[in-house]
Amino acid sequence: MLSFARGLLGAFAFFVSQAALADVKIGFQAPLTGLAATDGKSAKAAAEIAIDDLNAGGGVLGQKLELITYDDQAKSDQAIFTANKLIGDDDVKFAISGSYSAAGRAAAPIFQNAGVVFISAYGVHPDITKAGDYCFRLVRLGPPQGRAAAFFIAESLKLKKASVISMDNDYGEATLQGFLGDVDKYGIKVVNKYNYSLQDRQFGPIVAGVKRDEPEVIYATGYFFTAGPLVAQLRAGGVKAPIVGSQAFDSGKFIDIAGAAAEGVYIVDGFDRYRKDPKLEHFTAEFQKRAGYPPEGVAAEVYSSFDILVDAMKRAGSLEPAKVRDALAATKDFPMLNETLIGFNKLHEVIMPASVDVVKDGKFVHFSTIEDKKVLAPPEQ
């Protein structure tokens, strides 16, 4: 009888300890299909590498990490649906969005209400962090990116007459607002503003307009699949002015598409990818192996999101969302793949320097670093 009870107790203890050693689940939303699938693929590969690296390093607090990925197609309705699924079905306490602004913005309030720590890896819409104190963003917001571009054009390039071409989605609009807000301060004259949508690849009218403007510089926002054709068509159309691109230009594919036309294009808040850093080098090699192309900013941001989240868990010494949230908010001088994060502000926006890259001989080369705190200051509310 006693041995039976002991056996039962042993079995019970075994099952309890197994439950205590269950994996820590991290929910992940990415646009695996649809118009944003190119970035979705990068995001997914980066997430998987991050989880593998973190588990290889011993996991967190004695537990392994488990990645639960859902396709949100970069659409709000899918983001909401998959967020609810992660909370209800998969019972996650931590989530990362590797998707665009529209999706992140829809998912943020849902995670906030459920008390799930949520990081937007590269979605820039301001509302994402305004959803509440459980929401963090690891990429610089659109407006400071735009301000950084204005600063760069005025202080580094010392040019005054600009034509502005922007993408008409959340990311393009937010970045444009930041740029336009600061132009008067530097005496930059915006000759003309043009915009285009995510699926445009032919920019004939815009090229004709820019040719007529005769600007000293062109500032453009967009993703590589619009930036590539845009830059090629501008140069082919005979436009010689320097082109300053936004963060999402930063992809090897941009250089593939634009070819020789990409030479000399500046990218503000680009990914300083050839730094001598063992972690970065390991990531680059592993990403190239898994995805088949070199990593760009999106991949780096996603990887660092997992990295910083798990680091916060270790600093908190706990897996309770509230404690992890507080540890995350208190992060100081964390080495991300892209830059060193100085810290988060009250709104959980990043404070960190911005790298400006230039395309030289078919590669992204670091050009300069912007450290001006006022220019890069994220909003406080």
């Binding site: 299909t33 649809g34 118009l35 699938a37 190119t38 979705g40 693929k41 008409d168 503003k193 043009y194 915009n195 285009y196 949508s197 699926q199 445009d200 690849r201 032919q202 004939g204 009218p205 815009i206 090229v207 004709a208 307009g209 040719k211 007529r212 699949f225 590539g228 054709p229 090629a232 068509q233 140069r235 082919a236 159309g237 005979g238 594919k253 593939d256 598409i257 634009a258 070819g259 020789a260 036309a261 088949g292 192309y293």
Partner: protein
């Protein structure tokens, strides 16, 4: 100069739209089916052109391959998807067509990757030439020349050759043509074959212009070509050509002047609505009510 540049840009778009939309109007004219999956044939043409050009080193060979493959694809779509559905209401094959487009677009993503494909060497999109003071890239010039040649050839084919005349006859009056001994099935294959080849060439040209093909390349074209054939008068090739040019020029000038309020597609569809309100049968259609 500016307005001339806009006109040139508009004419180049117009050629692309024409090559796409004519295939669509041919299918509608013959079978009263809205062949939405035509956009997938277009995308296939684009992919084949780039992939064959990259492997063989010759862009011309890429085009030849596209012209060889796309008619087969179009005919296959007719045989497998439409032929069994012909006796149903026209919206049945149309829904099937939409389904096929969605399926094929995701198929392209799975087969060829989300990142899309680019030409390894495509000087045509970047180098330009000066023609009478207008700067054109070689790719744009290619579009203009190829489109002109194609439509001249098509015109000669349908007026000077037996097969061509039989084809036109079948499209305007199938039963009469049948009583003259024209094989309706052969004509259908010809119809899909030529329409799809046009879409294949359009795909190749777009790949040349953009130097980039991604799985969603057929997305905008799918509904815009539809708008164009309605605007031109369903079933009328001439109307489609006029509508293609019209819409392209409206977009070109429209995006410059009101592009800050409306995006390109919105401008195109606004124009469509206005024209249809004034002339519901389209440019050359016959008013039936």
């Amino acid at each position: 100069m500016f307005y001339v540049d806009l006109a040139v840009s508009g004419v180049v778009f117009g050629c692309m739209y024409a090559l796409m939309a004519v295939g669509l109007t041919l299918v509608y004219g013959l079978l009263r089916i809205l062949h939405i999956a035509h956009a997938a044939v277009f995308a296939l043409g684009a992919y084949v052109t780039v992939l064959v050009a990259n492997v063989s080193g010759s862009i011309l060979l890429g085009f030849v391959a596209a012209i060889a493959v796309t008619p087969l694809c179009g005919i296959a779509i007719y045989r497998i998807l439409y032929q069994p559905l012909l006796h149903y209401r026209p919206d049945v094959p149309m829904i099937a067509s939409i389904g096929l487009l969605v399926f094929m677009q995701d198929g392209f993503r799975i087969l060829f990757g989300e990142q899309g494909v680019t030409f390894v060497k495509n000087p045509l999109a970047i180098e330009s030439v000066d023609v009478a003071g207008i700067t054109l890239t070689f790719a744009q010039l290619a579009v203009l020349v190829v489109t002109l040649l194609i439509f001249v050839a098509l015109h000669l084919f349908t007026t000077r050759t037996r097969i061509g005349v039989a084809w036109r006859a079948t499209v305007s009056n199938p039963s009469m043509a049948a009583s003259f001994g024209v094989d309706a099935i052969r004509v259908r294959y010809l119809n899909f074959g030529i329409g799809s080849a046009l879409a294949g060439v359009a795909g190749g040209l777009i790949a040349l212009l953009n130097n980039f093909v991604d799985p969603t390349i057929g997305y905008v074209v799918s509904y815009k070509a539809l708008a164009i054939i309605v605007l031109g008068g369903l079933g009328s090739v001439r109307g489609t050509l006029v509508a293609s040019l019209f819409l392209a020029l409206v977009e070109s000038y429209g995006t410059i002047f009101i592009g800050s309020y409306l995006n390109r597609d919105a401008i195109a569809f606004l124009a469509l609505i206005l024209v249809l309100m004034a002339r519901p049968q389209g440019f050359t259609g016959v008013r039936t009510a």
